[in-house]
Symmetry: C2
Subunit: 370 residues, 2 copies
DNA sequence: TTGTAGGCGTTATCAC
DNA sequence: GTGATAACGCCTACAA
C-alpha cells in the first residue's frame, strides 16, 4: 500500500484486459461480460484498488460533482438559523441525484489582491476563485453578492441565488415575502388591532438594532419586502430592527416595545419565528398575556425549540423546498437547459398567539397586581 | 466565451512564453521577472483566463484541497446543535491555512452494494467512496463509524475522529467528559444534594427516551463517559435518557422528573446545556424555583438562545478548539507527520442555577398556593 | 464485447 | 529566469 496506489491500468494488466475495459467495468457505461467483470473485480481486490481516482475522473469529465454553497457569515451564525439549516437539507437532497456534494464556501475568501506573486501564504485560501465546483448557490443578500457573482461568472460557473435579487439572467429562488406578511397584517387588522409594530430583521449587514429611521435605506431584500407587506395594511406602523434572527434579539426588541405601558402596541409582527419567540418572552416579562393583551406573529413556520406551549401565528414557508428548487435549477443549468427562477409561497397559519384587540384598560399590565 | 475556455497553454502562447512559465506566474512558486509576469497577466486578461483549472491542478498535484466532514444525521439535525456548529467554525478556520474547504458528506451514502454494473442511477451518489477529498473528519459515534473508517482507509485517506473511539492508529479529538461531569457532581454534592438525577443524551442511535434500564448498554461514548462522572460521586443516581439534545427534549424529561412532588430530585445534572434549559423550563412549569428548590447543571457552556436571565452552572468546553484540533491533526497527516490525538478539557463554571439543597418542606411547590 | 489512441489542463523536474 | 518534457489517472470515441 505504501509504494504507490494502484491505478486502473494496473488493475487492467493484472486482469489481463485493456484499461478501457476495466474503466467500463467501474463506470457501467457499457455492457461487459460477466466473466470479464469478475476478473477485473478480482484484480482490483487483489491490488487494493477501490475505484477510479475522482480527481482524474473529474478532469476527464470536466465535472467535479461538487456544488459550492456561499455563505456570508461564519458558518456558526448561518446554521443556527433553522430556516437556513432546512434549506441546506433540501439542497443536499436535490443535488444528491446529480451525484454532487456541497462544499462550504465563504464570501470573504475573495481576496482583495488575488494577483500572483504577492505574499506567499495569502492567496492559497480556497475560495470562489479556486474551488473545484460545477455550480454555486449564493444565499441571502450579502453586500459582496455582486462581487461573488462576478468572480463566478468570469469562471463560467453557473449560479443560483436564494432570496436576493441578482439582476441579469441569474436564476433566483424567491419567496412571496410581501404578500405573505401582508396576510398576517390583515389578520391582526381583522382582529381589530391598530397599534401595530413590526420587529424586523436587520436593515443591512452592519446596521445596529433600533427603531427604523424614517426613510432609512434597507439593503436586505427580505427585510424590505416583509416590511412592505406590513405597510400595505398599516402604512404608518413603526418598525424596530433587531440585530439578527434569534430569540435573544427578539427579547431585546420586545423589551423596548413594552417598556412604556402607555405606548405599547397591541400587536407585534415579527419577521421571523425566533424574533417572535423573543417578543413573547418579553411580553411575559412585562406581565402581558400573549394573545389576550398582545398579539404576536412570526414568520417561517419553524419549530422553535422551547417555545411550547405557544403555537405561533405565522407564515409557514417550506425552507427545504427552497433548497430543492435551487438544486433543481442547478441540475437544469448543468444540463444546459434554461434554469427557471422560482417563486415559492408561504401559507398563513393561525396559532394561539394572536387574539382580538383588548378593550382599553383591560390588560393584565394595567390591572393592579393581585 | 462560448467556444472553449482558454487554458494556460493559450495564455502562454498569447504571451509568447512557455506554458510552464505561465504556470509559474500563477502559482508563484518560482521567481519570475516583472516583465514576463506582466505579459502573462495581460494575455490572461485578454483571453478571459481566470486561473488554473482546479480539477487539472488537483490531478497533477495529487491534492484536491478538500476535507470531507462526515455526518451521520441530516445536516439539519446536526447543525441545530450549537456545539457542532462551533466545532465546524473551528474546523473551517483550521483547514483554511491548508487551502482546504469543507465538503459535507453523509454516512448513509456508503452503499450496501457498491459493485459496478448494478442499477444505473444508484451508485452515482457522491460519497465516502468517490468524493475527491484529501482527508476526512468523522464526527460523533455513528454505528456506521467503523464502516466509514474502513472505506476511507481502503482509499488511503487520512481520518480524524472527534469524540469517539476509533481504535487503531486513528487520531482522536477527545474531551475529559468523565472528569468534567464529575466536577459538576461534586459541586452539587458539596451543596448538600443527595437526591440527584442525571438527564443524559441518547444511549444509542435509535434508543427512545426514558429511564435507563439497569445494566443497559450505552453505545454512545459521550453519554457513557459523562454518566460515569456522575456515578463517580453518586453511584446510585438514577438516569433519564433524553431523545436528543434540545430544549424540548429536556422539557419532556424534566416533566417526568418533576411529576411526583414527593419523589422529585433536588438536583438535576443534564448532559447538555440545551437539555438543562428544558429541565429548567419544566421546573418553572412545576412551580419550582431554580437554584432554590431545584439545582440544574448543564454541559457545554454554550449560549442558549432564550435562556436569560438564567446563567447555567455548567462545564464549558471549547467546541471551536475541537474543530481546530481536528484541522491541525489533518494538517499533520497531510504533511506525513504523525498526527497527535488530543484530549481537551472542560472548565467548571458556576452560574445561578445551582444552590444549596433546600431544607425539606420548604419548597415553593410544597407550600400551599396563594 | 473488447482494445487502441489520444488528450483533459496542469505542474514538477531539470536542463539551459 | 525560462523552457522543454513528461507524467498525473482516467475516459470516450472509434476501430476491430
Amino acid at each position: 500500500m505504501q509504494p504507490r496506489r494502484a491505478t486502473i491500468a494496473d488493475v487492467a494488466r493484472e486482469a489481463g484486459v485493456a484499461a478501457s475495459t476495466a474503466s467500463v467495468v467501474f463506470s457501467g457505461k457499457t455492457p461487459v461480460s460477466d466473466a470479464t467483470r469478475a476478473r477485473v473485480m478480482a484484480a482490483a481486490a487483489a491490488l487494493g484498488y477501490t475505484g477510479p481516482d475522482p480527481r482524474a475522473a473529474s478532469l476527464r469529465r470536466g465535472r467535479s460533482g461538487i456544488v459550492g454553497v456561499v455563505f456570508e457569515e461564519q458558518l456558526g451564525a448561518a446554521f443556527l438559523d433553522p430556516v437556513k439549516t432546512l434549506m441546506m437539507d433540501g439542497l443536499t437532497a436535490a443535488v444528491a441525484p446529480l451525484g454532487a456534494g456541497l462544499l462550504l464556501l465563504h464570501d470573504h475568501a475573495v481576496l482583495p489582491e488575488p494577483a500572483p506573486g504577492g505574499s506567499d501564504a495569502e492567496f492559497t485560501h480556497p475560495s470562489l476563485t479556486t474551488a473545484p465546483i460545477d455550480a454555486a448557490v449564493l444565499i441571502g443578500c450579502s453586500p459582496r453578492l455582486r462581487e461573488s457573482l462576478d468572480v463566478l461568472s468570469a469562471r463560467g460557473i453557473p449560479v443560483v441565488v436564494i432570496e436576493a435579487d441578482a439582476g441579469d439572467g441569474v436564476p433566483q429562488i424567491l419567496l412571496d415575502n410581501r404578500e405573505a406578511q401582508r396576510a398576517a397584517a390583515e389578520h391582526v387588522r381583522d382582529l381589530g388591532h391598530a397599534r401595530v409594530v413590526a420587529v424586523t430583521l436587520p436593515l443591512s449587514a452592519k446596521a445596529s438594532p433600533g427603531w427604523h429611521a424614517p426613510g432609512a435605506a434597507i439593503t436586505v431584500d427580505v427585510t424590505r419586502d416583509r416590511l412592505a407587506g406590513v405597510r400595505d395594511v398599516f402604512p404608518d406602523a413603526a418598525a424596530y430592527a433587531a440585530g439578527g434572527s434569534s430569540i435573544d434579539e427578539g427579547l431585546a426588541a420586545g423589551r423596548v416595545l413594552f417598556a412604556d405601558p402607555a405606548a405599547r402596541p397591541t400587536a407585534v409582527l415579527a419577521q421571523s419565528d425566533l424574533l417572535a419567540a423573543g417578543v413573547i418572552r418579553a411580553a411575559e416579562e412585562a406581565g402581558l398575556r400573549v394573545a389576550d393583551d398582545v398579539s404576536v406573529t412570526g414568520f417561517d413556520g419553524v419549530r422553535v425549540d422551547g417555545l411550547a406551549p405557544y403555537e405561533l401565528t405565522t407564515l409557514v414557508q417550506d425552507a427545504a423546498a427552497k433548497g430543492r428548487a435551487a438544486g433543481e435549477a442547478i441540475a437544469a443549468m448543468l444540463d444546459a437547459k434554461p434554469p427557471a427562477s422560482i417563486r415559492l409561497t408561504c401559507t398563513f397559519r393561525r396559532g394561539n398567539t394572536t387574539g382580538p384587540v383588548p378593550e382599553s384598560g383591560e390588560t393584565a399590565a394595567s390591572r393592579p397586581v393581585e
